[in-house]
């Protein structure tokens, strides 16, 4: 048993860390496409910002989708509450609040992550040092994760940390798919064109899954294959099915610790069942967008239930 405030702080700390990492991945994918000029004139930055849910905020400050302004908006803009730096700030602030629930190593890792990125992002990031900066985000957040795995008790505190990670990740993967769902639709007339291939590649890259996908599918890139991989494949650590399984598992751990089954667990199992009973054909028949929209709404509801079930707020 821990303080409700601590449970909430841990949950949000790990949501924010995951968010920072996801934004960095997304940025890396977008940059790659922009560099290879493979997008045939369509503006990749607009699509990246939409996926990150920052399009409107971006347009309030900028008139067009330039690489430099998009990169800095995504990475370090203080007015953008979802920028990498804002997310890291929020994660570290939550970590300070729940300092007593964290092992010394986890706290130090998140504090160092914050210190290093704060220094690296103090000035505008140029294309020349973008790669290095993005690597730093991935490395630093990985150290936090490593410290969590290596030093934390597997109790309720750990469960809340992991719940934050997987809810954020599921939300992120679903959002990426939803923004790009139209390029996965089989009805599109340009199936097989180079534009498609590039768009599919972006999807895979933004969840760091291009290698594993090709490894499993022998280079056979199809919309169904990608959707199946990112929604249903339980081996893929960023797929919806994988995240759902983990969420259920950690809510189960909480049930065991607390001896009480709660609303959030019922909701999580419902989502889990829906995902694992689906086939990719059925999803496409019913509508990919509809499927994803419902998933996102379900996940948001679940997050709310977790907050109330475990008394995050007074």
């Amino acid at each position: 048993m821990t303080l409700g405030k601590n449970a909430g702080g841990l949950y949000w700390m790990f949501r924010y860390l995951e968010r920072a990492e996801n934004t960095a991945r997304l940025l890396e994918a977008g940059w790659y496409i922009a560099l290879t000029h493979a997008n045939n004139g369509t503006n990749e930055w607009e699509s990246i910002l939409t996926t990150a849910g920052m399009n409107e905020a971006y347009l309030e400050k900028h008139e067009s989708f330039e690489a430099a302004s998009a990169i800095n908006f995504l990475l370090r803009d203080k007015s953008n509450s979802s920028s990498v730096m804002s997310a890291i700030e929020a994660a570290r602030s939550n970590a300070r609040m729940v300092r007593t629930a964290l092992s010394g190593e986890v706290w130090e890792a998140v504090n160092e992550c914050w210190m290093e990125l704060k220094a690296a992002l103090a000035r505008p990031v140029t294309e020349r040092n973008l790669h290095e900066t993005l690597m730093m985000v991935r490395n630093r957040t990985s150290v936090v994760r490593g410290a969590l795995h290596g030093t934390m008790l597997r109790n309720d505190i750990y469960a809340f940390s992991r719940l934050g990670t997987f809810l954020e990740r599921a939300d992120n993967t679903a959002r990426i798919l939803d923004v790009k769902y139209y390029v996965l639709l089989p009805s599109a007339s340009f199936v097989g064109s180079s534009i498609d291939n590039v768009q599919w590649e972006v999807i895979l890259r933004s969840v760091s899954a291009e290698r594993s996908y090709h490894w499993l599918n022998g280079g056979d890139l199809t919309p169904q294959g990608i959707a199946e991989f990112l929604i249903l494949d339980k081996r893929m650590p960023r797929s919806l099915a994988f995240c759902c399984t983990k969420i259920s598992q950690y809510l189960g751990l909480l049930e065991e610790e607390y001896g009480q089954r709660q609303e959030s667990q019922i909701q999580a199992e419902r989502i889990c069942a829906r995902v694992s009973s689906a086939s990719v054909e059925a999803i496409f028949d019913e509508g990919l967008h509809e499927f994803l929209a419902e998933f996102l709404a379900d996940a948001a509801r679940l997050s709310g239930l977790i907050e109330t079930d475990f008394k995050f707020y007074g």
Binding site: L3, G4, K5, M97, T100, W107, E112, G314
Partner: protein
């Protein structure tokens, strides 16, 4: 301050000649090269940043977390010196607790005429709400910090008592941890008494002070912090963490079934001991400042009913109030029947005709302070004041003598710090930390040494450019 010729240096008795407690260290130091040591200093800073030993500065958004500068040259106290300090502090702490009990009950000391009544009745630090209240276990001030200064081989003085919420103990612990990491060889060579047991002692001391009628199997201890923006938040989190106690804020607490309870993931759970780092005035909006959002409405009712221990008790500030300081030797004698082992800084109360006469004759040598003043206002520093200033002050003093006290200008001891040019003497003070529970008093050997980093400065406060040092008490 121009005392350099007479001041007592704790490390060096003469050119290249260390005082006995420093011999081992000084030999080691002379074999080290300056560049290497300077590098260690930089390493120490990086270490403090990484583990987040920072304090917050209000109203400065960008740089709102700062480090207190740390000097890598330790302050060393011999076993014999410490033994005397320990006895003196223990005596003082006993007297303070006895005084607090008395002043909130029968007020024998006032009846006996040892302290003028108006010093209590008209004092903001005296809380009438505490009259007749019996803290669980009978302890008022569980955690005390006694500020000491030194002027010579055997001359220690108590500068002030901190009976409310003494801070800085986390620096004592982290300074040591840093030193052990950086200079392990020193700790194998020299017998330095450890300080690391403090958090466990604090935990035990607080648990032993818990109410007897607790519904919990074993005492539940929590630390109450104003929150992550408080300047001492690091210390609050640090102590809770090391004690294995919960760190709570006001919005985590409420009064339920006559107990103070914290909101956990499974509902509200009663707390037995609250180590509160929130000032009296903010503790309970129903009893004290109604505007407070840092406190728990109704907590004082629970306290009066004996259902929670507050450490320290509300109202302990009356014992470390400036107006009472000069009475501490009398207070100690009144409650312990012994003379004070550790002297106060000699203080003349200008309300007394003999004292006033002396002060008027020696204005150019003394520091004269307003009893209720703070922050160095309304004060005369004789040795550096002009004739005109002294004359003007004399008028004020004659008009309202009871408003003033006078003290000699002390020549504080120095301990060297490491500068670019090598060792350089700087003034220091010392705050040992004492834990009081119903059955025992625990002292951690050493404490926090604060050092004025500017040459000649006597100001050791971290808010004004002071730093800290690791403090070593040597074993026998």
């Amino acid at each position: 301050m121009g005392h350099t010729d007479t001041q007592f240096d704790e490390m060096l008795a003469g050119l290249d000649q260390a005082r006995p407690p420093y011999e081992g260290y000084y030999n080691w130091f002379c074999g080290e090269d300056l560049k290497g040591l300077r590098r260690k200093s930089a390493e120490a800073e990086a270490f403090f940043r990484r583990i987040g030993i920072t304090f917050n500065v209000y109203g400065q958004e960008e740089a709102d977390e700062r480090l207190i500068p740390f000097d890598i040259v330790p302050r060393i106290i011999a076993a014999r010196e410490w033994a005397k300090l320990e006895r003196g502090i223990e005596q003082r702490v006993r007297a303070i607790n006895a005084f607090l009990h008395d002043i909130y009950h029968r007020q024998e000391i006032l009846r006996a005429g040892r302290i003028p009544e108006h010093l209590i009745a008209g004092n903001d630090a005296f809380l009438p709400q505490m009259i007749g209240v019996n803290p669980p276990g009978g302890v008022y001030t569980h955690i005390v910090g006694v500020d000491l200064v030194r002027t010579g081989e055997d001359e220690f003085f108590v500068l002030e008592d901190n009976a409310r919420t003494p801070s800085g103990v986390s620096y004592m612990l982290e300074n040591r941890e840093t030193m052990v990491q950086m200079f392990p060889e020193l700790f194998t060579k020299l017998k330095v008494r450890p300080v690391s047991a403090y958090p466990q002692l604090l935990r035990r001391s607080l648990s032993d002070s818990a109410p007897q009628n607790s519904p919990n199997d074993k005492p539940v201890v929590a630390v109450l912090t104003p929150g992550i923006h408080n300047s001492a938040y690091f210390e609050h989190a640090f102590l809770a963490d090391r004690m294995g106690a919960e760190l709570v804020e006001a919005h985590d607490l409420r009064v339920e079934n006559g107990r103070v309870a914290m909101r956990t993931t499974r509902g509200y759970k009663p707390i037995d001991v609250l180590y509160r780092r929130v000032d009296d005035d903010y503790l309970d909006p129903l009893t004290f400042n109604p505007e407070s959002v840092l406190g728990v409405p109704g907590i004082m009712d629970v306290y009066r009913a004996g259902n929670i221990t507050l450490a320290n008790a509300p109202g302990t500030g009356i014992a470390d109030d400036k107006a009472l300081y000069s009475y501490m030797p009398d207070i100690i004698e009144f409650y312990t029947g012994e003379k004070a082992i550790l002297p106060n800084v000699p203080t003349w109360r200008c309300s007394e005709p003999d004292a006033l006469a002396y002060v008027l004759e020696h204005l150019s040598e003394l520091v004269v302070k307003e009893v209720h003043g703070s922050g160095g206002y309304g004060m005369l520093v004789g040795p550096v004041a002009s004739k005109k200033e002294i004359a003007a002050f004399e008028k004020k003093l004659r008009a309202k003598p009871a408003n003033y006290i006078a003290q000699p200008t002390l020549s504080l001891s120095t301990v060297p710090i490491l500068t670019k040019a090598g060792l350089a003497p700087r003034h220091v003070d010392l705050r040992p930390f004492v834990l009081v529970s119903p059955n025992r008093i625990d002292m951690t050997p050493g404490g926090l040494t604060r050092v004025a980093l500017k040459k000649g400065s006597l100001v050791v406060n971290s808010s004004q450019g002071g730093g800290t040092k690791d403090t070593w008490v040597l074993g026998d």
